[in-house]
């Protein structure tokens, strides 16, 4: 492979795509590289890097909106926000601990991968905060959608479509997010020793309460000897004290409750966000499974019928992180069968060797009519398959 192509303007990026299309030399889009190992391995002629497209383009704290070129390090965005007491509410995961990757995560890749964290269940995913994008499509055209205002229904929402398309529809060069104030403080209520079903039942009570948890996770016994069920609260300290007390009363039947202070809470949720519990052994495959939260434990039980796995739950039970032995299909069939049996949901292989990622469906397979729609959509953005071809689905 030749050295990466590093445009320093949208116009240069467009020229690169136009040339690649003419020469039929597909491009692999890279940001900081920390998430490059997600998705199917691709047959591409060169990397197209966002590295030189860096820097904030807009930050209006009073309007709660921030814009940046796609290659801007996520850390720069988060630091700028922190200075004004704000943050990205969807809590983007850092994939480096899990993937063992290096490089600096970029804001563009956060958008492209719809990368969210534990707060997704209350504050929405990256796609819910993303309000504007500019991208180069596979025809080399510079397209904008959305903008810098919070409410915008003008035309088709290509912003949502860009989020989670992993660069297969366009090379993002600028993104705009809405942001929220960072709460004064946080704390976590911790229940101990619950099995998966009881834990998810407790989380369900908390999430069905008026006390607004911003995190709801269950760490089974294998992680730290005793199972821990975590409920995070954020806000002004008076309000937090009140809500913690109210939740304690509500959850009394689930046993004793500890209150973790701000510091302990923050570091624990960072681990939940980054799935660090599954970082080792590296040889294991890691899946990210989304199902209806109350059905999480039954999905795990069904997977276990066929495979020995290590799991933990986020999103009140609805997000299941599953580490499996990488042999055969690394559990793809068993996991997807368990999801289908439970109703709706999907599984994405987040960590696996290139061989594994080439041999199984990394992203949830689509039903034939949905696959046909995806193919036509892909063609409408990238008719000749120049951008990240085959990264999500083999056929396009």
């Amino acid at each position: 492979m030749s050295s990466p192509l590093i445009p320093s303007s949208a116009a240069e990026a467009a020229a690169i795509v136009i040339e690649a299309r003419a020469k039929k030399t597909p491009l692999a889009i890279v940001g900081g590289g920390s998430r490059s190992a997600i998705g199917r391995p691709m047959q591409t002629a060169a990397d197209l890097s966002s590295r030189a497209l860096s820097g904030l383009t807009l930050y209006e704290p009073a309007e709660m909106v921030i814009g940046a070129r796609a290659g801007t390090p996520l850390a720069d965005v988060e630091n700028a926000l922190a200075e004004k007491g704000q943050r990205l509410s969807f809590e983007p995961m850092d994939h480096r601990p899990l993937l063992g990757s290096s490089g600096e995560p970029t804001i563009g890749a956060v958008a492209a991968g719809n990368v969210s964290g534990p707060r997704r269940l209350q504050a929405g995913a990256a796609r819910d905060s993303l309000i504007g994008v500019k991208f180069i499509n596979g025809r080399g055209e510079d397209i904008k959608s959305g903008g810098r205002v919070m409410k915008n229904v003008t035309g088709l929402d290509l912003v949502k479509l860009s989020a989670g398309a992993w660069g297969t529809l366009g090379f993002l060069h600028e993104v705009v997010f809405k942001v929220l104030p960072k709460p004064e403080t946080e704390a976590t209520l911790m229940l101990s020793g619950l099995d998966d079903s009881r834990a998810v039942a407790a989380l369900s009570v908390a999430l069905g309460s008026p006390f607004e948890p911003t995190g709801a996770a269950h760490l089974p016994r294998w992680i730290d000897r005793v199972a821990k069920t975590l409920i995070r609260l954020e806000g002004f300290s008076d309000s937090l004290r009140y809500r913690a007390g109210a939740l304690r009363a509500l959850l009394a039947e689930f046993g004793a409750i500890d209150l973790l202070d701000e510091h302990t809470s923050a570091s624990l949720w960072r681990q939940v966000r980054d799935a660090t519990f599954l970082a080792k052994p590296r040889a294991q495959a890691v899946w990210r499974v989304s199902v209806a939260p109350a059905r999480g434990p039954e999905v795990v039980a069904a997977i276990r019928e066929g495979r020995d796995v290590r799991c933990f739950y986020d999103w009140g039970g609805g997000l299941i992180w599953v580490a499996t032995d990488a042999a055969d299909d690394a559990g793809a069939t068993a996991i997807r069968k368990a999801i289908a049996r439970s109703g709706s949901g999907h599984a994405t292989l987040v960590r696996g060797t290139p061989e594994l990622r080439a041999s199984i469906d990394v992203f949830q397979p689509l039903t034939p009519p949905l696959a046909a729609l995806h193919r036509r959509l892909k063609a409408s953005f990238d008719p000749d398959g120049v951008l990240n071809p085959g990264k999500m689905h083999a056929e396009f």
Binding site: P61, A62, E63, N114, S116, L121, G124, A125, R127, D128, N137, E141, I143, K144, S145, R148, M150, K151, N152, V153, T154, G155, L156, D157, L158, V159, K160, L161, A163, G164, A165, P181, K182, S204, G208, P210, F236, D238, S239, Y242, A246, S290, A292, P293, A294, G318, G343, S344, H346, L366, T367, P369, L370, L373, H374, R376, L377, A379, S380, F381
Partner: protein, 478 residues
């Protein structure tokens, strides 16, 4: 002279009307097909009443299968289809055309299941927005997006327009609160998108459906999130001498780290109109009014309101009215919620819906006033201040064609102004026919062509609500 053009109806389709009605009759029970001219009239317009067109026929399916059969029939016979919920669209999104079959969701209004453990409800697309909250309220839950039309409008229409409401500052708009949908595609194929889990698989087709104005498919069922209601909610009312002060107070409240559930703004004309109608006790000697609502326990609300009142005082607030009881709270909201109805009693109006960066508020209010005065008209402003979504109501007399044209011209200028200061044409009401011809002001040709190519992935023949959203010239099919 009404300015907005419709495409000329297809004479071939009009000539085949009897055959098409017979074809539909074979697919639907008799009570589900509306074809007499009298009965069709009910469906000829929506909330944009200045425009109307009688459809060819109206199908009112009661199942997804019936809806799919009608979609397939229309597809196979090249007949345009206009999806319709309650017909409350303010942008003309649901106005039919003479050569189209309207598919109304009126008979699909059931709540299919409520699942508290997973905090979702499965509903048919014709259910009203408020009925969802009604079904779960006794258990302390609610469906968050709350358009003022919520008593009438349907979840299918809400998805079609990606509707918002006063409380979306905290809870988001429709797209943030829907997890799954059953969609009938143009050729009658039925697909499930998403489900009762978070984040749908593959491309975000669910996100794309939101705000697609019936152009990508017909939604027949949806899975929506339901949330546990806060322990209490309490509004406070502030009166200011200038809208600049009100705007600055809004920004300062947000900057302080408090996110109220709603911050609503009214200008002097809107205050006068609403007060005359609702007797809500609004101060009449101020130029701008804010209603700020907070939620939580009594102590939490007290604490938040203390901070908010202190901020308002730093910004020269002249009148502060805190609600001491549920009745007073309801009264404060009554004025705001009756804004459209009250305005409708004194004049005809068109309701604009641009969004602006909130920092541009004082400038835009000033320029808007100039624009409307130049056209010899009046404007009243009520809007969601927290997110910059404006709703100028331009008052005119609909029996005076010259005045109507002026009102539309003034409206167009206002929307262009919104775009020029960094905002957009529509925050929640959709493009419909109303803003269709302004799309080129916000988007250039490649932007629009890309949207149209994505649209064509669903409907290459332009049969789904074809008169809307995209300028009639220069359409792209793939």
């Amino acid at each position: 002279m009404t300015a907005i053009a419709f495409p000329a109806p297809d004479a071939g389709i009009l000539a085949r009307r009897d055959a098409i009605v017979a074809g539909l009759a074979a697919l639907l029970p008799a009570e589900s097909l509306v074809e007499s001219s009298d009965e069709r009239r009910v469906f000829e317009t929506d909330g944009l009443t200045a425009y109307r067109r009688q459809p060819l026929a109206v199908a009112l399916p009661s199942t997804t299968e019936q809806a799919a059969a009608v979609m397939k029939y229309c597809h196979d016979n090249g007949v345009p289809v206009v999806a319709r919920g309650a017909g409350t669209s303010l942008s003309g999104g649901a106005i039919p055309q003479e050569d189209a079959v309207v598919i109304g969701l009126g008979k699909m209004s059931r709540i299919l299941s409520i699942d508290y453990a997973n905090r979702v409800a499965r509903v048919q697309a014709g259910v009203t927005n408020l009925a969802i909250t009604g079904a779960v309220a006794a258990d302390g839950f609610f469906y968050a997006p709350d358009p003022s039309s919520q008593l009438a409008c349907t979840i299918g229409g809400n998805i079609g327009m990606n509707s918002g409401g006063a409380h979306c500052l905290k809870y988001g708009v429709t797209t943030n609160n829907v997890l799954g949908a059953t969609v009938v595609l143009n050729d009658g194929t039925v697909v499930e998108i998403g489900g009762d889990h978070l984040d749908s698989e593959g491309y975000d087709l669910l996100g794309l459906m939101h705000g697609s104005e019936g152009q990508l498919g017909l939604i027949t069922e949806a899975t929506v999130r339901i949330l546990r209601a806060a322990e209490g909610a309490r509004p406070v009312l502030f009166g200011f001498d200038t809208s600049e002060e009100a705007g600055a107070a809004t920004a300062a409240i947000i900057a302080s780290g408090i996110i109220p559930v709603a911050i609503e703004f009214m200008d002097k004309p809107a205050i006068d109109i609403c007060e005359a109608y609702a007797k809500a006790g609004y101060p009449l000697d101020v130029a701008a009014l804010l209603i700020v609502e907070v939620e939580g326990s009594d102590e939490e609300m007290d604490a938040q309101l203390r901070k908010i009142v202190a901020i308002a005082k730093q910004h020269g607030v002249k009148v502060v009215k805190e609600s001491q009881s549920a009745m007073e709270a309801a009264l404060i909201w009554k004025g705001r919620k009756s804004a459209f109805g009250a305005t409708g009693r004194i004049a005809d109006y068109i309701c604009m819906d641009g969004t602006i960066p909130t920092g541009q508020l004082p400038l835009v209010l000033r320029r808007m006033d100039e624009i409307v005065k130049r056209h010899g008209l009046r404007v009243a402003n009520v809007f969601h201040a927290g997110d910059g979504n404006l709703h100028p109501l331009i008052l005119y007399n609909c029996n005076d064609p010259v005045e109507q044209a002026k009102a539309e011209e003034a409206g167009n200028e206002i929307l262009k102004l919104c775009v020029d200061v960094g905002g957009c044409l529509t925050g929640e009401h959709g493009v419909g026919i109303e803003k269709r011809d302004l799309m080129t002001h916000q988007f250039n040709k490649v932007d629009l062509d890309q949207q149209m190519r994505a649209r064509a992935a669903f409907d290459p023949g332009w049969l789904l609500n074809p008169a809307k959203v995209f300028p009639l010239e220069g359409r792209v099919s793939g």
